[in-house]
Amino acid sequence: MKAPLNWIKDYIDLDDLSIEEIANVMTMVGLEVDGVRLVGLPMPAGEHHEFKYEGLSWPADKFVVAQVEEVLPHPDADRLVLCRLNDGQKELVVLTGAPNLYPYKGVGQLEKPLKVAYAREGAVLYDGHKPGSVLTKLKRMKIRGVESFSMICSEKELGISETHEGVIILDDDAPTGMPLVDYMGDAVLDISILPNMVRDASIVGMAREIAAATKRPLRKPDDQLEMHGKSIKGRAAIEIRDAELNPRFVLGLIEGVEIKSSPYWVRRRLNLADMRPINCIVDATNYTMLELGEPLHAFDYDILIKRAGGKAPTIITRTAEAGEKLTTLDGETYELEPYMELVTDKAGALSLAGVMGGEESEVNVKTSCVLLEGAAWNFINIRKTISKLKLNSEASYRFSRGIHPALADQAVRLCLQRMLAWGGGVVAEGLIDEYPAPPEDPVVEISTHDVERMLGTAIPIDEIQDILTRLEFDCELNRDTIKAKTPPLRLDINPGLVGKADLLEEISRIYGFDRIPPKRLSEELPPQHGNQALDMEELMRDLLVDLGLQDTVAYRQTSPEREARILPEDADGEVREYLRIKNPITTDRTVMRRSILATMLEILEHNCHLRQHLAMFEIGPVFIPNADQLLPDEVLKLSIGMTGLRSQTTWQDKAPEVMSFYDMKGVIEGLMDGLHIPNPSYQPVKRPSFHPGKCAEVMVGEKVLGVFGELHPLVKAHYEFDDYPVLAAELDVTSLLEIATIIFDIEAIPSYPPVIEDIAVIVDETTSAEQIEALIWHAGGKMLNRVRLFDVYRGEKIGVGKKSMAYNLTYMAPDRTLTDKEAAKLRNKIVKNLEKELGAVLRSQ
């Protein structure tokens, strides 16, 4: 909410505090000041400001109140006039094109001089002709033969509003010659109102908070009202159908008003508070709403009588009937839902309760009698209505957060007082007040012990009482306990234990958070549970980073179409259920992802033209709907993506190899090794996304941990990849972590030298490396320490359909040095076993 500082000062003396100090007090009680717009007042001194300032200052020697004595025609231009003006020092002639001065043109010396805001030569102000806020300096120049050096200002030029239709005509009592900043300089505080502090979406509310925090008296607005008209009794009636939705409804009546502009100071304040001035009647309702926080609505009384067939109107509040429609005063027509509360008469709907008035019965230029509504509405129902209709107003903003019904009559009286002052007429005697459901104002007990238990610091009971009293709680003190009755201006205090917390908030924020001393937590720790899953996950991240991969964090929201790229539709005949987002932000983020692989391929695709070598991973959840439970399964997955060259080309390494299946396998093996996964095995497998001949499952026993391989060329074609093969892996993190071992045996460092030798065997092409190695290990027994494949050879020498596999074998005994004879024996056993099981042939050296 935009709060003009001078308005706040109507209710509290703050002249000894700077803007900065006031803004700080407000921020520290919960009325956060987002910024300050200066409207005339000077910029606070010093370089360091706690708040953001913008706006225009009006130096006292450049901007003054002046009076126009006579408006003369320009000799040479119809759209310009010359004003004979007195600025308090001397008489001058000032040129202006303001259309609101035309009516005075050529009528001679004005009987009542016009008070205006006058800027002297050299003044810096906003350019009225340019959009936005562009500063300009007044210089001496000739316009159509007439010298011009100063200006009568519009609101836009002074930074009050965007209006540049005419110059400001001040109220008659403005003292000629007075610096403008002294007359009406102001600063507008931009305040964020917290959801539970809607009572402070009002100038009086804000003043109350400042008064409490600075221990100053609050001057409440005087709602004395002269009611000299005929009594309102019998001239209107109220019928409330559902008191829960409409706990109170108050009506007042004013007759014989003149629909005209409000005084200039009212219009200026409304403008500063971001509300457009309309006429004195509508302005009075808005002004009172901003002042007290209670939205009001003015009906044209004569229209209501006409609708009632010439009789006294009965205002009925009820929910909408099936198919009922209403055209609001913004010209929009809404179809209403049956829960929406309406203000109606016997002829139909008049307004959407607490949200917006209807078009038909609104105050218009011909209005002379005004029936004024002050009511209270159920905030939850208002919320439902506005969220359904997507219709927001200053009224609904307040009512949807809960306005205390007690404000209704006070606001109606205050508003009628304003209408009378600004529009004339006579106020009918009395109000009609239906109040079927007054809220319970909770009484909450709070003790010094409660305060200390929660805040950790003792606050004396007198200070607690003082704080609550200043917030208008009715306090009853009994030794160290206070019984505090909630003032009838707020609905956010609850009874009982919750009420205690509510009061603690009030006490602590007014007492000041900065006065509560900080303390460290007790050294006694709660029972320790640890988080092994997270520890292992982070270990995995470290391992993968050590293996040269980049950690990534990706969006969970995607679309089935995006995921379909990795898996051509119907490729496996499986139907994929997604968790769908009801209100997606874009058409390509409509579901929660099921495939972490799809995400990884998008990341690779994004980067593949940027680097010659890419190797990345992500650890994150996928979301699989589960018919047996409300929430989907969140399955933690690891994806790895690699493509490009094994390393980047450099001046030394001009042609690095292209990464292949085995680079990915190296990463997988490194990860298995780092996690101490016991005996992982690799088996060829066919998966739709992968190349059928270059894809493997990694397993431990019967348990599949994941799949990896080269992307299927058809899948790859769905992306804009380079020519390099794209390697991808998807592993199940939970399974990995279940099998990973934290405690494992290590082997002793050998005390005797090993015997190392190479053998090469020729086998059929179909024989897998795993088979050979298993047989070597089996035959080698305990003495065999290490088996390392160092060459795979295919060629004419060994025949078609054959391959030669060369191994480097290490034999070792823990207790002695092996003899050549023992080594030869082992070797023979291994070769024999390979010959027998695979038909392998030892390759001659």
């Binding site: 520290m28 919960g30 370089e47 360091h48 706690e50 953001k52 300032y53 917290l194 959801p195 939850i380 949807s400 809960g402 238990r453 929660m454 805040l455 610091t457 234990l497 917390a501 603690l504 602590s508 958070f513 001393p517 303390k519 460290r520 937590l521 720790l525 709660p526 029972p527 988080n531 980073v545 050590d546 040269g548 991969l549 950690d551 990534t552 964090v553 990706a554 969970r556 929201q557 968790l579 769908r580 987002i581 009801k582 932000i585 874009t586 929660m592 994004h606 980067n607 940027l610 190797a615 990345m616 994150g620 959840p621 709907p625 929430l631 969140e634 390393s647 980047q648 450099t650 001046w651």
Partner: protein, 345 residues
Amino acid sequence: MMAITQAELEKEKLTALKQLKAVDNEDDLNSWRVACLGRSSAVTQAFSSLGSLSKEERPAMGKAANEVRKALEAALAERQEVLREASLQRSLQSEHLDVTLPGRPILHGRLHPLTQVLRRIYRIFGDMGFQIYRSPEVETDDNNFTYLNMPPYHPARDMWDTFYTSDEGVLLRTHTSPGQIRVMRERAPEDIRVILPGATARYEQLTARSEIEFVQVELLVVGKGVTFSELKGTLLDFAKLTFGEEARTRLRPSHFPFTEPSAEMDVECFVCGGKGCGVCKGTGWLEILGCGMVHPVVLKYGGYDPAVYSGFAAGMGIDRSTLMRYRIDDIRHFRNNDIRFLEQF
């Protein structure tokens, strides 16, 4: 063969030493050694002629020959050392590199900036005895709102723009706070001191400044006699460890439905030092976290009696503070995973 005289031997020595001075490589040095100390050299001749000398002449000649041999050997060793040194210098000089050529790049991975920042937070709170608790990213409306003291249509629900799912009552959690309910229900009546990290989502426009998914970390402490003082102490320590010993902070009242009293913590803008800049929007302060005493309704939903137990909670967005810290121009960088961005951390 004529026996060599002592005078001749002395002359031979002088000639040999003179020749040695001119030797400048290993080969010539070898030839010199053969010529001057070898079998046919004058010294060797002198030694072999000793037998033919008279008993009287023999000692003097022997002594002279010995001295000449020693002198020549010493000169040889010296010359050898000089040549070796020269040869080393030559080879060192011929082997110099252009050290400004780039080194051989070692390909290595990096942790994502958000992972790095999270780990820093884990460490700081770990030192204070906080354990880590994680909970699902897709949540029930109850856990995300109702049990956090926001029944349906509660005005505070407006503070979170929510992604709903087509499953009634299921949404993408808008904050990590539903984890508070989960950890309380799991551990009641134990005391609790945990942090709750994780991904959250909010229905926002995707722009340089606003993101639909982001990471939050939440703190929860529950016990008998946990106070606002301790909340303040814990957060002040965190701020100092994160933003530096000198960092100015302030705690100002705010509102969250699940805490009361509620506060927001601001830290003096570390970009401009509080003078006001684009990052702090001219205010000199950066909002870093929201916090407060756990609301009695939330304690009750969690299974703790609010008349006996109290607690505090705090929550912070990791993306935004990381963004400010590194002055990242676009919040979407975190999840676009552009290698040019990630490589810089």
